[in-house]
Symmetry: C2
Subunit: 327 residues, 2 copies
Amino acid sequence: MKKIRIGIAGYGNLGRGVELAIQKNSDMELAGIFTRRNPADVKPVTAGAKVYALGDAAAHKEDVDVMILCGGSATDLPEQTPQLAQWFSVIDSFDTHARIPEHFAAVDAACKAAGTLGVISVGWDPGMFSLNRLYAESILTEGGTYTFWGRGVSQGHSDAIRRVPGVKRAIQYTVPVEAAMDAVRAGKNPELSTREKHLRECYVVAEEGADKEAIRKAIVTMPNYFSDYDTTVTFMEEEEFLKEHNQMPHGGFVMRSGVTGEGTHQMIEYSLKLGSNPEFTASVLIAYARAAARLRGEGQTGAKTVFDIAPAYLSPLSGEELRSHLL
Amino acid sequence: MKKIRIGIAGYGNLGRGVELAIQKNSDMELAGIFTRRNPADVKPVTAGAKVYALGDAAAHKEDVDVMILCGGSATDLPEQTPQLAQWFSVIDSFDTHARIPEHFAAVDAACKAAGTLGVISVGWDPGMFSLNRLYAESILTEGGTYTFWGRGVSQGHSDAIRRVPGVKRAIQYTVPVEAAMDAVRAGKNPELSTREKHLRECYVVAEEGADKEAIRKAIVTMPNYFSDYDTTVTFMEEEEFLKEHNQMPHGGFVMRSGVTGEGTHQMIEYSLKLGSNPEFTASVLIAYARAAARLRGEGQTGAKTVFDIAPAYLSPLSGEELRSHLL
């Protein structure tokens, strides 16, 4: 059987995660890594992997079945996904929730013009969490949906701390509040403020001689990022920091608390506990890349999301096998 | 907008659950209840609801968009689903896992011959649990999948106890073993025996003068049902039994413990805590009835399962609304 040939556009943590995920899927192979850096400077994990300049991607349109975009949502994907859709079926993990409609429209137009297929916003949120919100709300039409994130590293909040004067290294963990989750599970349908849902834990290495109290105050009062939360700031030595905070765990919970009939409480809960956020996102991307290759093979074009794709397309197993073993 | 007209075939706990679920979905209406009993003996919850003899169903083929079959899997559904598929698009909750392939084939043949659509094995297991097994295994290809059931009432086991001489009333709760679930969550990928996964709790009202020790022994040694489990038998007075054991709660857990990259642990967990098993199953059936009506409207025919249906079909919201609000 012919393998699905995957291209990786962008080789950071996510791109490397995709490369590793290909190795765990025997129906896939790595066609090439496409980078904005000098290709000679990229050292893939896979022996013999080809590295190309992203600007030369069009020349490889016959060699790639699905191009997985691994850039950032702020500036990379809004430009790159529609552009690469001119030549490839594409898939990305675009995660700026508010801008999904315009990104969908741009990718849809590019795909339809080129006769390619694009799947956007694939990962866990958006992605698996979105799916669980949709399934749960379609089943329990009367009720409340709650999403909690963590315990996990927020890159955006970590970056914000690193911009505070006197901060040498920093990391921020988003932590869901157990009491809030328990109230939801008990069917209380609480109205929860931002502060009641999540805590923010910050670990900071200060520059030598920096005013730690000033740093702490700058962090906890920072608007948008921290001022609406209960935030703790823990200072530590660099050596300890590098040893204890070098992973990217994350996860969270989607809960739907609803009622059926004459008020019977029903509870649906989905949770992820991820040792590595980028490696998990990469694994979701790879499963949907399989779906994208198949849907394109059936003649479909245009933009899709996880909502539009039947689950069977994600699995290498046949319909008969799925019905026998997993149903 | 024209409402989706739902027929209910079989009016027990599940059929009544479907009737109640229709009332929580404003795009649906009850077209009629079809029963093997004397229609005059059926008292629907819905004011003015029509009740027909199941044998006369064919006469109502133009009045029903989707027929939801609410009979049992042992003898009702293998016969009724293919039969009613001659006239209606159908949906059932067939849950005899081992016989799903033959049931699928029978419904598929009937639907294709008649130009109707059938969705089989819809509910929570098979159903939502199956979906979660499929999604989780497609994402985390290296790992173990574990399904735990409970705490909840097993009808089959309750029935088995009631056949023991001297038993007047009985109910059985399946209880997942917390220690086993915690071992899975910790990434230990344990090999679990039947006994290590679930406990069985039995509550029994004995006939007057019955030998309780003989009843207890007959239960705990019963092959297939109890002998492979740690089983407790608690005797109680009838009044207390009727007060405390008159609900049908159930639920359970689907867990996937996997690794990505060079051995990073990743954990996916889906759980249900259901106040009423039949009302929840009915709510899943109704969501998939919406999908069935739409798929049939697009010209599709034949048998499908939850694996074959894109999630967006379950929701009354448009693609644009779903992308804006739930993605």
